[in-house]
Symmetry: C2
Subunit: 127 residues, 2 copies
Amino acid sequence: VDQSAELVAANARYYQAFEAADLDAMSEVWERTARVTCTHPGWATLRGWAQVSASYFALFSGPVRTQFVLTGQQVVLNGATGWLSLDENLLGEQAGVAVAALNVFVRDGGRWSLVCHHGSVVHAAGD
Amino acid sequence: VDQSAELVAANARYYQAFEAADLDAMSEVWERTARVTCTHPGWATLRGWAQVSASYFALFSGPVRTQFVLTGQQVVLNGATGWLSLDENLLGEQAGVAVAALNVFVRDGGRWSLVCHHGSVVHAAGD
């Protein structure tokens, strides 16, 4: 098994679930434990799956659908932990916004699960 | 050796180096490899030690000294990887600003080294 490819696929499922506003698919991506953390752009950090899942429920229940073009993806493996640094370039109503993201995954039972997502809007120089 | 305590100590050295604007001490905290990433609040992600160290050189050469009160620190260990989620509450000229941070470390040779730092300003509801 190519762990790097599996990790990249798990990360892709995160963005597919987000674009589809599919809470079940998003739940499959995350570890669903107390130790997970999620920092949406400009938000305080949410801790634990109850808080994190509630945030996706709220985002997915709203009118805005988000589409991403992902660029600059860098993948790092360190044992049973892996992380991706990438840029989320938003389309649609939020076109022109770039979000720097760091996604940390852990491997357990042959499966990569998301444990940390941190996104922040990149401000152009002079903003 | 209590790995969790060692990890917390390594993280504390990051903030001590930042407050002291001490580039040598900051260099000791980081892994100093091509895989490190650093996202300062509002910045694009910097990749590799050359870019990351240059950013601290620039920050430490400027007139603003940063002091932090750290709150909400959560520590997670996963094998030879560990990470901390915490809030950096800024003092002095930037008083009132809260930065949500995620710091990822790897252990090698009995030592924890920082490989990812991601910080983003928390906007109060309604901002």
